[in-house]
C-alpha cells in the first residue's frame, strides 16, 4: 500500500479492519465521529456488522454480547460517552471477554468542550466501573503508532481475554499524517475461543456462560484472585514505553500521547540552550512502566511530568519515582495544548513547578 495521507480517526477505523474487527457498535460523539462514519461504510460493504446504537450504554452492552459470542468487536467514543460505558466495561472485565474500546479524549468535566485533552487518564487507568479490574490501555503519540497499536489490539484482547483501550486525544483523531498500514505488528499465539456463547452445537458436551455474578464471598474472591493473576501476568509482559535521550539527562520529562510529541520539540529547543532533557514516554498507560524510572541516572536533577490535565498521570510518576528525584508538574488543560516554549520555560524554572 505504501504511505498514504490519512486523518487520525479514519486511520483508527482502517487499522481496526486490518486488525480483523468483525463488529462495531457505537454512538456519535465529537471528536471521534469519523471512526464510526468510516466503519459504517466499509464494514457493511465487507459483510461485517455495524450498528449505530441508541446510546453508549447500549453500545458497550452490544459489545459485551458480541464479545461473548466470540467475535472481534469494538466501540469508539469520547469522554462523556466513555463515562457512560463504565458499567458495561466492568461487566466485560468481570466476565473476561475480549474487546477493543477507542477513547478519543476531549475537554471536561461534564460536557466540557471538544478540544483535545488528557483529562481521562484516571477514567482509562482507574476506571469508573465498580470492582477490582484493569484495562490494558495504550496511548500512542502519532497516527502511525495508533495504527500499529490498533492492528494488534484485538490479538492482545483475545490473548488475555480482557478489554483493551486505545486512548488518544482529539488532536490525533483530527490531524492528518502520511502513514503506512503494512508495518508488521506482533502476532500472538491464540487459542480457540472454546468459551464463546455461540450455541452448544459449536462446543458439544458443554454449556458456555458469560457472567460476572459470583454470589458467595469466597467464590467471588477466588474469581478476583484469578483476575489478579492475569493482571500480574499483564504487568509482567505488557509494559511498553520509549526512552528518549536518557543517557545523561539534566532533567527527565514524563509525557504520553500528543503531549509527548510537543515535549519532543521542547527537548530539541532545550538542547540548543545546552540543557540535556530526556523523556520517558509510556506507550501503555496500564500496565505503567514503573521500571523505566529505575533507569534514570542518579545525576538527573528532577522529573517533570507534563500532561494536558491538572495532573493525573502525576500519581503514577510519583509512585514510580519512589522519592528518588524531585518531581515537578506542568499542565495545560480543558482543551489547551501547551506550546513547546512553555515546557522549555517550565524546565528552566523547575523549582517553580515542583510538587510535594
Amino acid at each position: 500500500m505504501g504511505k498514504i495521507l490519512m486523518k487520525g480517526n479514519e486511520a483508527i477505523a482502517l487499522a481496526a479492519i486490518k486488525g480483523g474487527v468483525d463488529a462495531f457498535y457505537g454512538y456519535p460523539i465529537t471528536p471521534q465521529n469519523e471512526v464510526p462514519e468510516y466503519l459504517s461504510k466499509h464494514m457493511i460493504e465487507n459483510g461485517k456488522v455495524f450498528v449505530q446504537a441508541e446510546s453508549e450504554v447500549a453500545s458497550i452492552n452490544m459489545v459485551y454480547g458480541a464479545a461473548g459470542a466470540g467475535v472481534r468487536v469494538m466501540t469508539s467514543s469520547s469522554s462523556p460517552g466513555i463515562a457512560l460505558m463504565q458499567e458495561g466495561i466492568s461487566y466485560i472485565a468481570g466476565a473476561e471477554l475480549p474487546c477493543v474500546i477507542v477513547s478519543v479524549m476531549r475537554g471536561g468535566p461534564g460536557l466540557g468542550n471538544i478540544q483535545p485533552a488528557q483529562g481521562d487518564y484516571y477514567q482509562a487507568t482507574r476506571g469508573g466501573g465498580n470492582g477490582d479490574y484493569n484495562l490494558i490501555v495504550y496511548a500512542p503519540e502519532s497516527i502511525q503508532e495508533t495504527i500499529d497499536v490498533m492492528k494488534s489490539a484485538f490479538d492482545t484482547a483475545d490473548y488475555y481475554r480482557n478489554p483493551v483501550m486505545v486512548l488518544v486525544d482529539g488532536l490525533i483523531g483530527q490531524m492528518m499524517e502520511a502513514v503506512d498500514f503494512d508495518r508488521p505488528v506482533e502476532k500472538r499465539d491464540l487459542s480457540l475461543k472454546d468459551w464463546a456463547t455461540n450455541g452448544k452445537k459449536n462446543h458439544p458436551g458443554k454449556r458456555n456462560i458469560a457472567n460476572s455474578l459470583h454470589l458467595g464471598a469466597e467464590i467471588l474472591e477466588d474469581h478476583n484472585k484469578n483476575l489478579k493473576k492475569k493482571y500480574d501476568r499483564i504487568k509482567e509482559n505488557e509494559v511498553k514505553y520509549e526512552m528518549i535521550n536518557m543517557d545523561n539527562p539534566d532533567y527527565t520529562i514524563v509525557a504520553y500521547g500528543t503531549m509527548a510529541r510537543v515535549c519532543r520539540s521542547a527537548i530539541k529547543q532545550l538542547k540548543k540552550k545546552g540543557i540535556e532533557v530526556g523523556m520517558i514516554r509510556p506507550i501503555a498507560l496500564w500496565p505503567y512502566p514503573k521500571k523505566a524510572f529505575d533507569e534514570i541516572p542518579s545525576t538527573c536533577k528532577g522529573i517533570m511530568c507534563v500532561e494536558m490535565s491538572m495532573g493525573q498521570m502525576l500519581d503514577d510518576v510519583q509512585i514510580s519515582n519512589r522519592g528518588r528525584f524531585d518531581v515537578a508538574f506542568y499542565g495545560r488543560y480543558a482543551g489547551v495544548v501547551p506550546e513547546p516554549e512553555e515546557i522549555v520555560d517550565a524546565i528552566e524554572n523547575f523549582e517553580e513547578w515542583r510538587v510535594e
Binding site: 459485551y64 454480547g65 459470542a69 467475535v71 450455541g199 458456555n208
Partner: protein
C-alpha cells in the same frame, strides 16, 4: 411403562431459586419446553437479566449470558447481529425491562432485532424486596409506595405491549397470564409462536407474561394468582397486540 410427563430438556437439573408459588418457575418451564420442541437448545443463546431471574443462566439448558440491569436487549442485539442464524432470547422482569432498560427495549424493537423477549410483569421489584415498579397498579402498596401507588406523584402503570405494538420493527407482541392452567397453555402457545417467528426471521418478538410475586405482595400463592386474574388482567388486557403477518400480510 408409558411416560406421560417428563421434565423438559430445556432446563438444567439445577433446582430453581424462586420462592414457593412464584410463577417465574412456570415461565421457565414454558420457555424450556419451547426451546426443546423447536429444536433450538443447541443453537440458542439466552440472556439472563437482573432481578429474581438473574440465575436464569443456571437454569436454561443452552448457552447463556448474564446482562447488566436493563441491558439485555442491547446484549441480545450484539449477539444476534454476529450470529444471525442462532436463536437469541432475553428473560427480563418489569423493573429490568420497563424501567431501567426501556430505551434498550424500544430501540431493539425499532431496529426490528430478530430476537425474542420474555417479559415477566409482576407489578413489583421482586429481588430487591418489593419496591414499586413502573408496572405497579394504582393504589398497590409496595415498600416505596406504602400508602398505595399515587398516580399524581408516581405516575401510571406502564403498558409495554401496547407501546411496542406501535413500533414498525415489532413482529409479534402478545400479553399472556399464568394465573390458571388454561392461561398457562395459551402462554405456551404465544411463546412458541414468538420463537417460531424468530426462526422465520420476521423481527422483534415479545411476550409479556403477567406473573405473581406472592412473597412481596404479602399473599398466599393461590391468592396471588387470584390477584393476577382480578386486578392485573383488568389493568393489562390479555391478547395479541401485534402480529406482523396478520397486520401486514
Amino acid at each position: 411403562m408409558k411416560v406421560k410427563y417428563k421434565k423438559t430438556k430445556g432446563l438444567t437439573d439445577k433446582p430453581l431459586s424462586y420462592c414457593p408459588g412464584c410463577t417465574h418457575g412456570i415461565a421457565h418451564k414454558l420457555v424450556g419446553e419451547t426451546l426443546e420442541e423447536l429444536d433450538m437448545l443447541d443453537d440458542a443463546i439466552g440472556i439472563a437479566s437482573v432481578g429474581c431471574s438473574v440465575f436464569a443462566y443456571q437454569f436454561f439448558n443452552c448457552d447463556m449470558q448474564q446482562a447488566p440491569h436493563g441491558r439485555a436487549c442491547a446484549e441480545a442485539t450484539g449477539i444476534k447481529r454476529v450470529l444471525p442464524d442462532n436463536t437469541v432470547f432475553t428473560y427480563q422482569g418489569d423493573g429490568d425491562l420497563a424501567s431501567i432498560g426501556i430505551a434498550e427495549t424500544i430501540h431493539a424493537a425499532n431496529r426490528g432485532e430478530n430476537i425474542t423477549v420474555i417479559f415477566i410483569n409482576n407489578a413489583i421489584y421482586g429481588m430487591t424486596g418489593g419496591q414499586m415498579a413502573p408496572t405497579t397498579l394504582i393504589g398497590q402498596k409496595t415498600t416505596t409506595s406504602q400508602s398505595g401507588r399515587d398516580a399524581k406523584s408516581q405516575g401510571y402503570p406502564i403498558h409495554i405491549s401496547e407501546m411496542l405494538s406501535t413500533i414498525e420493527g415489532s413482529a409479534y407482541i402478545e400479553r399472556v397470564s399464568l394465573h390458571d392452567p388454561k392461561h398457562v397453555i395459551k402462554a405456551k402457545k404465544a411463546i412458541k409462536k414468538a420463537f417460531t417467528y424468530q426462526k422465520e426471521k420476521r423481527g422483534f418478538t415479545l411476550i409479556e407474561v403477567l406473573s405473581s410475586c406472592p412473597v412481596n405482595w404479602g399473599m398466599k400463592p393461590i391468592d396471588a394468582l387470584k390477584w393476577v386474574e382480578e386486578n392485573m388482567v383488568e389493568q393489562y388486557p390479555l391478547g395479541v397486540y401485534k402480529d406482523k403477518e396478520a397486520n401486514n400480510g
